[in-house]
Amino acid sequence: MSQTATMTGSAPATSGNAATDPRGPRPKPFFTPKKIMIYTTLIFFALYFLFPLYVMVVTSLKTMPEIRFGNIFALPSAPSFDAWVKAWTSACTGLTCNGLSPGFWNSVKITIPSTIVSIFIAAVNGYALVNWRFKGSEIFFAVLIFGSFIPYQVMLYPLVMLTRGMGIFGSLQAVIVIHTIFGMPILTLLFRNYFASLPQELFKAARVDGAGFWRIFFEIMLPMSLPIFVVALILQITGIWNDFLFGVVFAGPQNYPMTVQLNNIVNSAQGTPEYNVNMAATVLTGLVPLIIYFVSGKLFVRGVAAGAVKG
């Protein structure tokens, strides 16, 4: 009987219930204990980190009387951007009362050149360390990496002497030079490891084709390095933008970056603390790194090297 059943193509005699027998992809229920655990934890920590931001934004939109009322979690009854305008244009940073805007432009003037110069030099360094091994290149690299473990404070005074000797102490150039130097160890490590992960045979092929140091760098290596450039860009922009120490020491009062001016607003000892202005100023200062993170995430292009090697 089972024979005829098989021959006509209906269900085999051994099966119990055709509707409930496992068949096809295994069902994946959404609410499993594991998933609930994961999402609960994720949501908890997301809230934990987002709460301060929420408080800051909400407070910056309130008026001082409303803030004094107490409820820091409450939404503003009449949202107003007055505190933001004041933070940008007229809050007192030390002796002057021009708000944060001069500091913003100082930070821009510091961040852009130091980022470009440090990334370029580090990229060349990393490329040379991987592909053009020279006598002592390993030691050179080790010394460079060791540099990243020395606390900045140790080098502060010698650097003050150095920049004063160069005649640039208390200027934008001084901060730019310092940032470029201090970005070198980590960026060189980054680029060296990235270039080391690219197929060596590409470099060899370019050598056989007759290309030299710079030609290989600009025409072969750079076009393949977009992902690591984006990483370096994020690191440098956020690092330099958020820097306080070098700015306050080397820039001089007229060139203070935004972070230093923010500190001067928030830590002002005179008058009543204007919490709404402080919050607005803080959010304004943090906005640049925040935007960089949001924008650059999309720039992470994968598979730039695809097609160069097997696959």
Binding site: A205, V208, G210, G303
Partner: protein, 360 residues
């Protein structure tokens, strides 16, 4: 005629590790040489030295009579094809092909002419506008060969060019490389660990081990008269059967006492006293049934395993207490447990000294 490539006393050390040691090799004009060996034997290193991508520790390299030991790769008159293809990913096929020519500052119309010729030879005209990411493995390797082709060089270097391809493509491209060599008649140096590629392509094969060339000869000699145990075991699949024993005059006595007359063997030199020796017989030189009758040594054996390969059958058995493989036509019905008569074709076998491992 002066050799195309000549390597004299070449040594290369990485720190204390000797990768190549006093290596000599002369390659004739238009010859197809295959460097064959297991990974780590120094064959790719040798190729990189010839290309100028590695500095040598000692010795000289001549290409077309010119000492190029200190020359840059581009000035050596070589083109190289890599295992991973090493195509520049951001450039189109056309720009990949022309990169070297553009670097050298060649006139545009000459570049276009050469690229067109290479594309025609390799049948890649439709691909010229594409990026490497949009090519299949076989197409990529063709472009990589084209990049060496446009340079119009005398010597082509191939570094395991087919190892990343699947079996079918590999055999297709193998034939194409052979065809290319027949058409261009350039000197080609080809590194591989695949003995089939070596046997099918080479004019001469250099078998390497630990940075030393073990044997340099044409494929037929390499296969039939290996100079030592290493070469004998490396070449051939399934590999040669080895029986340990001792040799006294024209009689080989296996370790279990089986006597095998080896009078038919063509000794390289007259031999004296009895010595420890190894008898090597290729699977296809062990004959079955009627064919076994004429052979100097015959024995009864029981088949243990049969591996039908389609065109032929491999069978595993035991002779003189040692596992032995033999090859026979797939028309002969064989089954595990069958008792058969097998005969050794001693004249085509190999005898090695057990101590020195070299051919007797």
């Amino acid at each position: 005629m002066q050799p195309s490539v000549s390597i004299k006393d070449l040594s290369l050390n990485f720190g204390n590790v000797k990768v190549l040691e006093r290596l000599n090799l002369d390659i004739a004009q238009g010859e197809f040489i295959v460097l064959l060996g297991p990974s780590g034997c120094g064959k790719s290193t040798l190729l990189n030295c010839i290309a100028g991508l590695l500095d040598v520790s000692d010795g000289q390299i001549f290409i077309n009579g010119k000492n190029v030991t200190w020359e840059e790769p581009k000035d050596r008159g070589i083109g190289m094809v890599f295992q991973s293809y090493a195509l520049y990913p951001q450039m189109t096929v056309e720009r990949n092909l022309s990169f070297g020519l553009r670097v050298s500052g060649m006139a545009k119309d000459e570049i276009a002419r050469r690229v067109a010729r290479a594309a025609e030879i390799l049948q890649i005209q439709p691909l010229l506008g594409r990026k490497p990411a949009n090519l299949s493995g076989g197409q990529r390797q063709r472009v990589a060969i084209g990049r060496a082709l446009v340079r119009d060089v005398d010597v082509f270097l191939f570094d395991e060019p087919l190892s990343n391809l699947d079996a079918k493509l590999r055999s297709d491209l193998r034939v194409e490389i052979k065809r290319l060599h027949a058409r261009l008649k350039n000197t080609m140096i080809y590194v591989t660990h695949d003995q089939i590629e070596a046997l099918t392509l080479a004019d001469r094969i250099a078998i390497m081990k630990n940075g030393v060339i073990q044997q340099l000869a044409d494929p037929h000699t390499i296969y039939n008269k290996p100079v030592n145990l290493y070469v004998a075991g490396f070449i051939g699949s399934p590999s040669m059967n080895f029986i340990n024993g001792s040799l006294d005059g024209a009689t080989f006595t296996a370790d279990d006492g089986t006597k095998i007359p080896v009078g038919a063997y063509d000794f390289a030199a007259q031999r004296g006293a009895a010595t420890k020796a190894v008898l090597g017989v290729r699977p296809e030189h062990i004959l079955l049934g009627d064919a076994a009758q004429g052979m100097p040594f015959q024995t009864q054996a029981e088949i243990e395993i049969v591996e039908p390969m389609g065109s032929e059958t491999l069978a595993w058995t035991k002779v003189a207490g040692i596992p032995v493989t033999f090859r026979c036509s797939s028309d002969i019905p064989l089954h595990a447990g069958d008792k058969v008569t097998v005969g050794f074709d001693i004249a085509r076998g190999s005898l090695f000294d057990a101590q020195s491992e070299s051919r007797l």
